[in-house]
Subunit: 160 residues, 2 copies
DNA sequence: TTTACTGCAAATATTTTGCAATATC
DNA sequence: GATATTGCAAAATATTTGCAGTAAA
């Protein structure tokens, strides 16, 4: 995913952007960014809070909300939709992917899909200028399908 | 949208389903369903609460959450994602449409799209069985685009 | 030195839960 | 009459806000 070298480049870029916006480069913001880069999928503020704790760098939730807002302002993060009661964030690079959400285990798998991207890039919508899009596909993942099948088989044999 | 005659058919069907599930047909549930049918787009429990109030049929939020759960259980509603802090629900019929969300005014417009449906119906995903999908397109609606343009023009002339 | 940022604590918003009274079946 | 449902009140969860102390520039 994002290796150490990439990270320092990204952090440098982040510092520049902060400076350009008259915002301050604080240890909290840098560390939070690093942790955000580690997430391979959607995450919530609460998850970020735990990750920071586990890395011996506790920050307040206010700071997390603040930094997440900054990252959204500069277009590095987006609010995404999960149907859960807490807001999920996602790195912009990941949003070009298709979200496969299993209705059974709730896990979301990201898949890259150039065919879909090509389809969407060619698409226009009436009276609307597209900046990006999100396709979430709901269904059942194979793991759960297998599990459900086994469960049913077991129930049958239990009846006997 | 859903006219009065359609509604009574739907309510009848709802009554049957409730009976079949050993659930009770209460005035609250029927009225809530009627209001849900009136929503042309996404709605939150809070909006539903207000609508019920305005129609002189106040119900508790508990009842709303309960009924919404029932409607989801029977597959008539789905949780949808808006990136706001409250959960939005949507009628299943509407989910086959594309959501155009304006990042400026936040309004979501639904558009029917048979070409996209055809594309998706033909699509398969590895290790995943699709049951439905949601495409949300983010961007700027023409109303806002116009407003932004005017604002910029105004700012320029103010500078002079 | 200036002032943006952090973190606390409190306010607000949203959702869930327990339970007594009630209404459906 | 049995019990599912309602609505209240309280708990749990999530997000926002105000402000004093702190630290970046």
């Amino acid at each position: 995913m994002t290796d150490q070298q990439d990270k320092s480049v990204i952090i440098e870029r982040f510092s520049d952007i902060l400076k350009g916006k008259g915002k301050r480069k604080t240890p909290e913001r840098i560390k939070i960014l690093e942790k955000v880069l580690d997430f391979k999928k959607l995450f919530t503020v609460e998850q970020l809070y735990q990750v920071m704790l586990n890395d011996d760098f506790p920050v307040s939730r206010s700071t997390l909300y603040n930094t997440v807002d900054v990252l959204m302002e500069i277009g590095w993060l987006r609010k995404m939709n999960t149907g859960e009661s807490s807001i999920a964030y996602e790195r912009v690079e990941q949003t070009a992917q298709i979200h496969l959400k299993c209705e059974h285990c709730g896990k979301i798998k990201l898949v890259k899909d150039t065919s879909f991207m090509a389809y969407m890039n060619a698409r226009k919508f009436m009276a609307f200028t597209t900046s990006y899009y999100n396709l979430t596909v709901y269904g059942v993942c194979n793991d759960c399908a297998r599990r459900i099948k086994q469960l049913k088989r077991k129930q049958k044999s239990d009846k006997k």
